[in-house]
């Protein structure tokens, strides 16, 4: 919600902006943005009471020990001799309907001061009456509506739920087919209001309106929400009603609106307030200071606890707290009171207390198995991928697949039935890659099951065979049936993967279940994450370089030197090293994959070759390397 501090400071003294932001944040009203005197506040769904100037001022007042300076002038009323009958079919749907007539109105543009105030809230001015109802909602939180009295046929208003097939045209000109059970107001013949959401076109105030019915009602939050959702039609009024509008703000709102109208249009006649409303029921919560301290971990005295609650408007009587009328949608339990105490003194005042040490618990079997398997794959040179579980119809086994009923696009309508879908999708993004050895562990979903699957893919079936050997050996399951298969050409075509030879093996849940427990040692030091370096949106060039150097030259120093040859050298990875007599004593052969990229364009072969030549020259001059390739 956006709110102007100029407006706010008329009813509560404000500290300097930085302090104000701190106060609001510590109260749970997060400041999402500041532009000049306008604050953008994030109001959580439980705090409907803060969707107004008054509500925000109350929070600031509580924290700074101020009373709100908001006096509503008394309104002198006159009898208006115009009948109006009100019927409410269910007080559950409409617990309070309060209104008054105002006669002799003259619809026209609002004065400058009113337009300015509304614009600070991003509200478009309409006319003097509508603008005042909007202003009162923004100031006090009570959504209001003005009907043209002469357009209410038969001088009757019936508040009732809709039946099947009813319709309304709202005052923005939109037609709505109403869901069953929405709250509407009907006159003798027509539906004239979509209650709590928007007025009807047929009863709205217009240029020739003389008498208005000014409404300040409360409607059932759940019904308003259901209707707004069903129609996909949210308004400033419905937003507030969904979150709860307090029942006692209606009368002050009607007085505030009437007196403001009287200020702009001195000739109006203001009628008495009329109402059909359930009596106000106060809520009292029993609490104990010990329990509050025990929950928070604090040592506030009863005096301090009472003070905090009183500042927020609670009436305290021994161990009972009466909830202020504007907090009935949010405060039900003594734990809610604990939050108020915490909020008042500031969460940052709550001491940090160490959680008593406890013995380490073993990792659960399934989890540990997958961790051991992950380690094993990485140790054997595989790269772990994690793909999207949401895929298209083409990518799943149609017979077993589960579909979403509200997918974002046909590309993500189904849940994957195997990991091939997401793994191949990822691989297709790297047509430039020289060698492939990847794996993924993730959930797969079929109509009758959700299970974990493991999938490894490589462009070399020996690598996979070797890895299966390692798995069998580690878990001592020689007889287990794990097979390497070649990926089908049609399948690869689906993912536009051109390379020919790709092989895979899968461990399904059944196989995983046969692998027994293994211990795992986790070391925080090995769990480092490097800072990210941007990946170019242009394709990279790749090179292999292999050379013979002295044995005592470390991999690290070789790698570092190559990396520094040119800033287009992005990744340098060792893929082979061995010693052989033919290189001579104390010598080794080393081979690197090198990935080059340019953040601004595709690299030409010429550019790439130049960089690699430079790399070779550098290796020769610095390490007396003999280039093999």
């Amino acid at each position: 919600m956006i709110i102007s501090t100029n407006h706010l400071k008329k009813i509560v003294d404000l500290p300097p902006q930085e302090k104000l932001v701190e106060i609001l944040t510590s109260a749970g009203l997060n400041v999402e943005g500041i532009k000049d005197d306008v604050l953008d506040l994030e109001i959580t769904p439980n705090r409907g009471d803060c969707l107004s100037i008054l509500g925000v001022a109350r929070e600031i007042g509580a924290k700074t020990g101020q009373k709100i300076k908001f006096a509503i002038p008394s309104v002198s009323t006159n009898p208006i001799n115009k009948p109006l009958k009100l019927e409410i079919s269910s007080q559950k749907l409409c617990p309070s309907y309060i209104y008054r007539l105002i006669d002799n109105v003259k619809i026209g543009p609002s004065p400058e001061w009113l337009v300015k105030k509304l614009k600070a809230f991003d509200f478009r001015p309409v006319n003097n009456i509508v603008d005042i109802t909007n202003l009162v909602m923004l100031e006090l939180g009570q959504p209001m509506h003005a009907f043209d009295y002469d357009k209410v046929l038969g001088q009757i208003m019936k508040v009732r739920p809709t039946q099947k097939g009813e319709k309304i045209t709202t005052l923005d000109g939109k037609d709505h087919n109403l869901p069953e059970g929405a709250i509407i107001i009907e006159d003798k013949q027509r539906i004239i209001d979509l209650a709590g959401i928007m007025g009807g076109e047929n009863s709205q105030v217009s240029q020739d309106t003389k008498t208005i019915i000014l409404q300040a009602a409360v409607f059932d939050p759940i019904t308003i929400r259901q209707t707004a959702k069903a129609l996909n039609f949210q308004t400033d009024a419905s937003y507030r009603y969904e979150r709860g509008v307090d029942i006692l703000i209606a009368k002050p709102s009607l007085d505030w609106a009437a007196s403001t109208i009287g200020k702009i249009l001195p000739d109006v006649k203001i009628g008495e307030i009329q109402s059909i409303a359930l009596p106000y029921k106060k809520r009292i919560i029993e609490f104990s200071c010990d329990k509050i301290n025990h929950l928070l971990g604090t040592k506030y005295s009863p005096l301090e606890i009472n003070k905090a609650l009183q500042q927020y408007g609670f009436e305290i009587n021994k161990n009972q707290a009466e909830v202020p009328f504007w907090r009935l949608f949010d405060i039900y339990f003594w734990q809610d009171l604990a939050e108020e105490v915490g909020r008042f003194y500031g969460y940052n005042q709550i001491p940090k207390i160490q959680l008593a040490a406890q013995d380490k618990k073993a990792l659960p079997k399934d989890y540990r198995l997958l961790q051991v398997l992950t380690d094993l794959m990485v140790e054997n040179g595989f790269m772990e991928l994690i793909g999207y579980p949401l895929v298209s119809a083409k990518q799943v086994d149609a017979k077993q697949a589960l579909a979403l009923s509200n997918s974002l696009s046909p590309e993500t309508e189904y849940l994957r039935t195997d990991l091939l879908a997401s793994l191949l999708q990822q691989m297709s993004r790297n047509p430039w890659a020289k060698n492939i050895a990847v794996f993924e562990i993730g959930h797969i979903f079929k109509s009758n099951s959700e299970e974990v699957q493991f999938l490894a893919i490589a462009d070399n079936n020996d690598v996979l065979d070797k890895t299966i050997g390692v798995i069998k050996n580690l878990w001592k399951v020689e007889n287990i049936n794990i097979k390497v298969g070649k990926l089908d050409r049609n399948l690869l075509d689906l993912y536009k993967i051109k390379r020919g030879n790709l092989f895979c093996f899968i461990l399904d849940q059944q196989i995983l279940n046969q692998l027994t427990q293994k211990d795992i040692k986790w070391d925080l030091k090995t769990m480092q994450l490097n800072p990210y370096r941007p990946v170019s949106k242009f394709p990279p060039a790749t090179f292999d370089i292999s050379f013979v150097v002295k044995n005592n030259i470390s991999q690290d120093s070789l790698q570092e030197v190559i990396e520094k040859v040119d800033d287009k050298i992005f990744i340098v990875e060792l893929f082979d090293t061995f010693q052989s007599e033919k290189f001579g004593k104390d010598k080794k052969s080393v081979a690197y994959h090198i990935i080059l990229q340019d953040l601004k364009k595709s690299l030409t072969d010429g550019e790439a070759n130049q960089i690699m030549d430079k790399a070779r020259q550098t290796l020769i001059s610095q390490f007396q390397a003999q280039i093999r390739m």
């Binding site: 940052n348 207390i353 160490q354 406890q358 989890y367 790269m383 979903f445 170019s536």
Partner: protein
């Protein structure tokens, strides 16, 4: 060839290890969830605006893709009795259009503890410990009130990182009605719960500029970690 762990895996392992050292047990749950566990038992009824905050993917059979790891709080307690300390790493889903800071699928790490004397002070301490282990001993943190229907009081934590305050996790004391839904007597037991989005934390920690990168499979991204 040199193998690589996926950065999400590394982050989750590191986080799990920190909590494991403090006596937490790891529990996991299904990614397809019943509405009852994902919402209702966590005090997020259909009729409440809080449900909008977690826009949801529905399956044709009425089940949902879990929008958070919190349903595992309820599931875990179906077979356990307090005192407990549990963490839940896992994948979650939100029905929202993706862009550089929004992803329809992400990882969460949930944690909760229930005991006779677990206090909000302990929650604040443990989160502080965790953040220090991940971002370094000198990291500055602040906490402030927040609203989640399944906790009371509710609390958010922000860290001061590279010149900015960043909200990184939500938490609070488990709501008495949620304790009841777990079959735990709120008169005798109390507990805390917290949840954090791993992808966003990874973004902050590594400086990656697009939250979708971890699942797009670009080898140039993955080979960096």
């Amino acid at each position: 060839m040199i193998g690589h762990y996926h950065p999400i895996t590394t982050f989750l392992r590191k986080s799990c290890k920190v909590f494991q050292d403090m006596g937490f047990e790891i529990v996991q749950g299904p990614e397809i969830e019943e509405e009852k566990y994902n919402f209702d038992l966590l005090r997020i009824p259909k009729t409440h605006p809080a449900r909008d905050v977690q826009d949801t993917f529905f399956l044709k059979d009425g089940r949902v893709l879990r929008t958070h790891t919190s349903p595992v709080q309820i599931r875990a307690m179906e077979t356990r009795k307090p005192p407990v300390r549990i963490i839940v790493p896992g994948r979650c889903y939100r029905h929202e259009a993706t862009d550089a800071t929004h992803e329809a699928t992400f990882y969460q790490l949930e944690g909760f503890a229930i005991d006779k004397n677990i206090k909000m002070s302990n929650l604040i301490w443990i989160l502080d410990e965790f953040v220090k282990k991940i971002f370094g001993e000198n990291i500055k943190t602040k906490i402030f009130p927040a609203y989640y229907p399944f906790v009371e009081p509710g609390m958010d934590l922000a860290i001061f990182y590279k010149g900015k305050w960043l909200e990184i996790l939500g938490s609070g004391m488990i709501h008495p009605e949620v304790l009841q839904n777990m079959g735990v007597d709120p008169q005798r037991w109390q507990g805390f719960a917290f949840g954090m989005g791993i992808d966003r934390l990874l973004m902050i920690l590594t400086g990656m500029d697009d939250i979708r990168m971890p699942y797009q499979g670009d080898f140039r991204f993955l080979k960096q970690f």
